[in-house]
């Protein structure tokens, strides 16, 4: 029996939607086997990580809070990825957005007014977008690969964060801890569901995803993004400027990552701390691909990844799984997704042994 890959005449729509599901199921199976082999309760771990957060209604609020930044950043990255602009540095843009918003918060400390929070959000968006503007400038002017420049700028952003926390922005009444003052009531996102941790950023993420869906599927800008990614020569023929598209894609991705940054700072954190970078910017790459670069898919994928975060914490406390297990599961998901993606354009054919013998 020979297994052959045969090119499909048209990419399979069914497989396009099915492969993310296959990837998640394969991750659960492989994870169970691997963790069993290294001496943990593998199936228990999978149940804890993937099912417990969904079955426990009390954990749903955590899912929403974790999913919100993943969805926001994932949507922004998907815009770039569709245009073949590979922004890998969303983590840095997320930090810079958080820092820019924090800067506004510190400058308005002690003031009151409804305008402070919106101003912080705008600063966050602008900060993230401006930081993504660096790779855009390098790419369009000097043809520097944006994968490298955006990724490396992430580590610059982390150092900027550390510097500000230990120096200029350190809380003067904070017993020398490297962190900022706590934000005031006018600088903190309000909770939208009473007596939960669900803050305003959660519904905002869903609104952004729906707006992005409309823009990508119905607007000329969305068409431009898709055509530049699919066929640059055709885009030029259609009158779309490649450099402008690169700028737009990076600014959109950076802006949304920066927005996610300030929503985290003004939401769950309530201040800026050195532990601010939690890897959302990198995990959002998995979210974007698992969601098929489609905003609605990304909402679902964002929730799935949020499940692994929440479940990973549960598994740590209840069955003593190492903290790195969450990362292992997330990475396996991307791995299986990329591996099964071949089924979108190819079908598997089992050539009979007899026929193979004929040909030999």
């Amino acid at each position: 029996m020979l297994i052959e890959l045969e090119k499909r005449k048209e990419p399979s729509k069914a497989m396009l939607y099915l492969t993310p599901v296959i990837a998640v199921v394969a991750t659960m199976l492989a994870g169970a086997i691997i963790f069993s082999l290294i001496g943990h309760d593998g199936f228990g771990a999978v149940r804890k990580i993937f099912l417990a957060p969904l079955l426990d209604t009390y954990k749903w609020q955590d899912l929403g809070v974790k999913a919100a930044p993943l969805i926001l950043i994932g949507v922004g990255l998907a815009i770039g990825f569709r245009a073949n602009v590979w922004n890998i540095g969303a983590e840095g843009q997320y930090i810079m957005g958080g820092l820019a918003g924090t800067g506004v918060a510190l400058a308005t400390w002690g003031m009151t007014g409804w305008w402070i929070l919106p101003l912080m959000c705008i600063a966050g968006i602008v900060g993230g977008a401006a930081y993504a503007g660096i790779p855009a400038f390098l790419k369009t002017r000097l043809n520097v690969n944006e994968i490298l420049s955006s990724l490396m700028l992430t580590y610059v952003a982390i150092q900027v964060l550390y510097y500000l926390m230990r120096g200029p922005w350190k809380d003067p009444d904070g017993f020398n801890f490297p962190q900022t003052r706590l934000f005031t009531d006018d600088q903190i996102l309000p909770t939208v569901i009473p007596s939960t941790v669900v803050h305003l950023g959660v519904p905002l993420a869903f609104v952004v995803a729906i707006a992005a869906w409309f823009v990508l599927s119905r607007s000329v800008f969305g068409f431009q993004i898709r055509v530049v990614g699919a066929a640059p020569a055709a885009a030029r023929y259609g009158g779309f400027n490649t450099n402008k598209t690169i700028w737009a894609a990076l600014l959109a991705g950076g802006g949304l990552a920066g927005f996610a940054g300030i929503l985290e700072a003004a939401g769950p954190f309530g201040q800026m701390v050195p532990q601010f970078p939690t890897g959302y910017g990198f995990t959002a790459i998995i979210v974007a691909f698992l969601g098929r670069l489609h905003p609605i898919g990304i909402v679902l994928a964002g929730i799935i990844l949020a499940v692994t975060y929440v479940g990973g914490e549960l598994a740590q406390s209840s069955i003593g799984l190492p903290a790195a297990a969450t990362g292992v599961f997330q990475a396996m998901m991307l791995f299986f997704l990329l591996a099964t993606d071949v089924l979108v354009k190819y079908r598997i054919r089992f050539a009979s042994a007899a026929k193979a013998g004929d040909a030999a």
């Binding site: 005449k9 607007s219 055509v227 699919a230 023929y237």
Partner: protein, 519 residues
């Protein structure tokens, strides 16, 4: 041929299937020693698949290849070469930055010292009277000379059967004549030649026998010397050939589309600079630009369509507008539409539906969008209209552009631009790789558009096409455009000389070009 001589190669019931198509269906024919045998058929008739199996690139699903009377299994190209099969591909595989000698050395199966190899190369060059300097760098050579490298590479192996795949599509008429001389000489030494083409007059000139393929099947065999091009074409397409109906005497309107001193510096190492291009296309006129590939046609199309804006603004004019500095969108809004040579990924996005492909160029003129919002319904309707009016074979506006055959996609692209009712239409290689039926439809649509008062510019390497279609033409060679010729008065020889004559002999070319200009 007497009966005791075995055919050089005989194919018996060769069948090869790909997903969705039967590329070869029980194909049988034979080639005698020393025979120049034509394999004739439209694009997609299965010619390439067939020779790939003879050369060992693919294996047949069923059937038998008999070589000098012995059934053989050609496992790979190396085995084919060992057997005595040489092949010259349509697309060359040469390293631009290396010399002729180095390129040939790289392609040899055995190892041979440089000096030994050079000696052998010179011997082959001498025997067949081919002009080629083994120490020249490939990037400095013309397409005709590059093809000679491939021929020499094949001849070094002293083949018993040489397969030539569409060898003349990149040559000037003079180079074609030279190639035929070489092939005739070769066949006299007993080497069989399998010559693949759809250019009928060439086959009539060169070949002694022909096998005609249609839809993967052998539909006829003939002696091309006893046939007319029309009779062979009708066997090839399996029907009557439509002639372009074009009013004999037509009135032309005002000067509509003008290039006046268009000059653009070449980009990169292999880009061609455009030097002082001047022409005028009148309303209602079809104007042709002939030339061998790679002489600035691509650069010219990009400059004229607006993909590469240039200055000064009045180097290109549409009616009274100076447009050279405008981008493609601005020009399209003034009524200038264009169809590039490459369909896949330039004229159309293969991963997009036909509906989405209408949005690519027709979104403004056909009001498929406004205020930045795309109207999906309007686009679908327009795509449907293109499909109906131009008889595009597809399952509907929702199918992917990449699922259409080359000819059908070309018809769709042409239809998309023509239905926008452009004032000026620029088309590059309108029927490249398109079957005869679709080509006739495309030609007719261009002529009809001109009759409605549009100015049409056709850039093509196919002289027959230009002569049939155009009212006037000019020739592009190394980025310079010749004077304009009236089609009725120009001869093929004259145009051929303007195309660069026999490449690789600059003195002769210059002399001949001068002679033509004086003429």
């Amino acid at each position: 041929m007497s009966n005791d001589i075995k055919p050089r190669i005989e194919l018996k019931g060769i069948t090869k299937a790909f997903p969705g198509v039967l590329a070869n269906d029980a194909v049988s024919f034979k080639v005698e020693p020393g025979e120049i045998h034509a394999l004739l058929g439209e694009n997609g008739a299965g010619k390439s698949t067939l020779v790939k199996m003879i050369y060992g690139i693919m294996q047949p699903d069923a059937g038998e290849i008999v070589w000098d009377g012995e059934p053989v299994m050609v496992a790979n190209p190396k085995a084919a070469r060992k057997m005595g099969v040489g092949m010259v591909f349509q697309h060359f595989s040469l390293f631009e930055a290396m010399t002729v000698l180095e390129n040939i050395a790289l392609g040899m199966d055995g190892s041979l010292s440089q000096s030994k190899l050079e000696e052998k190369i010179r011997e082959v060059l001498h025997t067949y009277d081919l002009k080629l300097d083994p120490h020249r760098i490939v990037s400095t050579l013309s397409v005709g000379e590059r093809q000679r490298i491939e021929i020499v590479r094949a001849l070094l192996l002293e083949p018993q059967l040489l397969i030539m795949d569409e060898p003349t599509s990149v040559l000037t008429p003079q180079e074609v004549a030279q190639l035929f001389e070489t092939l005739r000489r070769l066949s006299k030494t007993g080497c069989s030649i399998l010559y693949i083409s759809h250019k009928l007059h060439e086959i009539r000139d060169l070949c002694e026998a022909a096998t005609i393929l249609r839809g993967g099947k052998v539909v006829g065999e003939c002696d091309p010397r006893k046939e007319t091009p029309t009779s062979m074409a009708e066997m090839m397409i399996g029907g009557n050939l439509k002639q372009i109906s074009k009013a004999a005497s037509r009135e032309f309107g005002d000067d509509r589309f003008i290039a006046d001193g268009l000059t653009i510096a070449g980009q990169g190492d292999f880009g061609v600079a455009l030097d002082d291009i001047c022409f005028t296309v009148r309303a209602g006129e079809v104007f042709g630009i002939a030339g061998v590939a790679g002489n600035g046609q691509n650069e010219l199309l990009l400059a004229l369509s607006g993909e590469e804006p240039s200055s000064p603004a009045d180097a290109i004019r549409l009616d009274s507008h100076a447009i050279a500095e405008m981008d493609a969108v601005g020009r399209r809004n003034l009524g200038l539409c264009a169809v590039p040579e490459e369909r896949n990924g330039h004229g159309a996005v293969v991963d997009f539906s036909l509906t989405d492909n209408t949005i690519l160029t027709a979104r403004d003129r056909m009001e498929l969008s406004s205020n930045g919002i795309v109207y999906g319904g309007a686009a679908r309707t327009f795509a449907g209209q293109v499909i109906d009016d131009f008889a595009v074979k597809t399952t509907g506006p929702g199918s992917l552009a990449g699922s259409l055959s080359g000819g059908n996609l070309q018809k769709f692209i042409m239809g998309r631009e023509i239905l926008q009712n452009p004032e000026v239409l620029i088309v590059s290689q309108p029927t490249w790789g398109v079957d005869a039926g679709a080509a006739a439809a495309i030609h007719q649509a261009l002529v009809d558009l001109a009759e409605n008062g549009s100015a049409i510019l056709v850039i093509s390497q196919d002289l027959d096409e230009l002569l049939a279609l155009c009212d006037r033409l000019a020739v592009i060679n190394e980025g310079r455009l010749s004077k304009t010729l009236n089609v009725g008065e120009a001869t093929i020889d004259e145009i051929g000389l303007l195309m660069g004559g026999v490449h690789g002999d600059p003195f002769a070319t210059a002399e001949m070009t001068e002679a033509v200009h004086a003429h």
